[in-house]
Symmetry: C2
C-alpha cells in the first residue's frame, strides 16, 4: 500500500467514526437508523470527504474542522447509492460486497433511509459545528443542494436512466457524467476553499482540479466496469454494456479513454500549481484516479 493509500484509509476511518457518531440518535426509529447505518458504514473509499478534508488542509483548516462538511457530502453520496440501487432504478443487489439496503431491509425502508440521509446532510451543514460563520454555512448549503439536485446529480441520474433507451453522442455522455458524478466531486474540491474563505482565483483553480478529477474518476469507473471483476469491485460489473448504456469508454474505445484519463490527470495537477508543495497529496489523489483498482 502506498503512503497515499495509507492516508486515504486513515481518513476513511475518521470519516466513518464521525458518521457513526452522527447516526447514533435515539430519536430515529430503530429500523430506519439501522438502514441508514447499513447504507453508510459499509467500507466505501470516502473519496468525497477526503477531497473536502484535503482541500481544506491547503488553507490550514484541520481535519476536525472540515469533518462536518465532509460527512455531509458523504451522506449525499450514500443516499444516492441507496436510491440508485433500488429495483426501479439500477436494480443492484450487491454494493461494496454487501446486500444493498433494499435487499437487507425492504424497498420502503431503503427509500426512507435515502431520504433521511439526504436531509441529514443539510441538517449537518446548517448547524454551527460545520463553520462558525453562518454566511459560509449558507453558502455550502446552496452549493451542495445545487450539486446534488435536479440540475446536478439527480438530473444526471435521470439522464442515465434515459440513456438505457436512447443512444447518446459524446457531448450528451459528457453532460450526463458531469452531472451524475462530476457535480459532487466538484463540490468536494471547492468546499475546502469555501470553508477557508478562499479568493476567487483559488476557488477557480480548485474548480478546475475538481472538474478534471471528476472526469478522470468517471472514465476510470467505466474502464473498471469492463476490465475488472465483481470480486474485486464488490459490485456487479459489465452492467453498462449489458444495459446498452453508452459511456465515454464505449463511445471512444478503451485506448482513447485511457488517453483521455491521462489528459484529465495532467489538467488536475496543473490546476494545483498555485498551491505549490502544499498540494502534493491532492496531486497524488489525481494520480490515484488512474491507478485505483476498485
Amino acid at each position: 500500500m502506498t503512503s497515499f493509500e495509507t492516508g486515504l484509509k486513515e481518513t476513511a476511518s475518521a470519516v466513518e467514526a464521525a458518521l457513526s457518531q452522527r447516526l447514533a440518535d435515539e430519536n430515529i426509529p430503530a429500523q430506519l437508523a439501522e438502514a441508514m447505518t447499513h447504507g453508510t458504514l459499509n467500507g466505501g473509499k470516502r473519496l468525497r470527504p477526503y477531497l473536502v478534508i484535503q482541500t481544506a488542509s491547503l488553507f490550514g483548516i484541520s481535519q476536525a474542522d472540515a469533518m462536518p462538511t465532509a460527512i455531509a457530502l458523504e451522506c449525499i453520496h450514500c443516499y444516492s447509492l441507496i436510491h440508485d440501487d433500488l429495483p426501479a432504478m439500477d436494480n443492484d443487489d450487491i454494493r461494496r460486497g454487501q446486500p444493498t439496503v433494499h435487499k437487507a431491509f425492504d424497498e420502503a425502508t431503503a427509500i426512507l433511509a435515502g431520504d433521511s440521509l439526504l436531509t441529514l446532510a443539510f441538517e449537518i451543514l446548517g448547524h454551527k459545528n460545520s463553520h462558525p460563520n453562518p454566511a459560509i454555512r449558507a453558502n455550502l448549503v446552496t452549493r451542495l443542494a445545487k450539486a446534488a439536485g435536479a440540475a446536478g446529480m439527480a438530473g444526471g441520474q435521470m439522464l442515465d436512466l434515459e440513456a438505457e433507451t436512447k443512444t447518446l453522442n459524446e457531448a450528451e455522455i459528457r453532460r450526463l457524467q458531469l452531472l451524475k458524478t462530476g457535480a459532487l466531486i466538484l463540490f468536494g474540491c471547492e468546499a475546502g476553499g469555501v470553508l477557508a474563505g478562499a479568493s476567487e482565483a483559488e476557488l477557480a483553480n480548485l474548480g478546475r482540479y475538481g472538474k478534471a478529477i471528476g472526469a478522470a474518476f468517471q472514465i476510470k469507473d467505466d474502464l473498471l466496469d469492463i476490465e475488472s471483476t465483481q470480486e474485486t469491485m464488490g459490485k456487479a460489473v459489465g452492467k453498462d454494456e449489458a444495459a446498452g448504456k453508452a459511456t465515454l469508454v464505449t463511445n471512444l474505445g478503451p485506448d482513447q479513454a485511457h488517453l483521455e484519463l491521462d489528459i484529465q490527470i495532467d489538467k488536475a495537477i496543473s490546476a494545483l500549481e498555485i498551491f505549490g508543495t502544499r498540494a502534493d497529496t491532492l496531486c497524488d489523489l489525481a494520480r490515484y484516479m488512474k491507478s485505483r483498482e476498485k
Copy 2:
C-alpha cells in the same frame, strides 16, 4: 366560500406562481422537470406555506419576503407525497384527483422527482433571497432538516409503515403523528417567527399553536378518511381501516376524536392570545382545521 377560504385560495395562487417560477430551470432534464411540476403544481391547499406567510405577517413581514421559506416548505411536503405514494410505500394511484407521479411517469422518475424537490428546498432556503441575514437562513435550514428527517417526518413515515404489521397504543399513535405530519406543520408556524427574529416567548407560543393545529389537522384527516368520499377528497379513502392502521380515530372512537379536535383548536387559539387581533387569521385557520371538507 368564507373570507378565510378566499384568503387561503389567494395565497395558494401566489404560492403556485412562485413554485412555477422556481421550477422553470432549463438546466433540469425535461422529464425530471415535468415530473417535479406534476407533483407540485396540482392544486394542493398550500396550508404549510400559508402558515409561514401568516406567522411572518404577525411580525409585519410581507408575503413576498416570506415566500421563499414558504415554497421551500411546500417542496418538502410535495416530495413526501410523491415518495409516500410509491408502490413500495402507500401504493396510491390518485392524488388530488390526478394520477400520482409514478403513474403519470414511472417509479424511477418519481423517486428522482422527490429527491430533487427535497434538495431544492434547501437550495432555496440557503440562498440570500430567503432572508438577508445568513444566520437566519442557516437556522431555517437546520430546523427544516430536523423537521423533515429521520427524527421527524421521514421517521414518522417509517413508524407508519411499521404500524401496518403491529398494533400501536395511543402514545405510539401520538408519537407517529407528531413526527409524520406534526413536524412540518410546526416548522411552518415557527418559521414566521424565525424570519422575524422573534423573542423566545413568541416562538414558544407559535410552537404551542403549531403543535395543536398539527394534532387537529391529523385528527381531521383521519375523520375524513372514514367520513368522506374519494370524489370529495381527490384521493382514496378508508385506506387506514383497510390496511389495519391504528389512528386516534380508530383508537379513541369518532366521538372522542371529535372532542379531542375541539380541545386542540381551543389550545391553538389560546396560544395566540399574546398577539391580539393581529392573529385573527391564524385563529380562523385553527377553526378551519375542524370545518374543512377535504
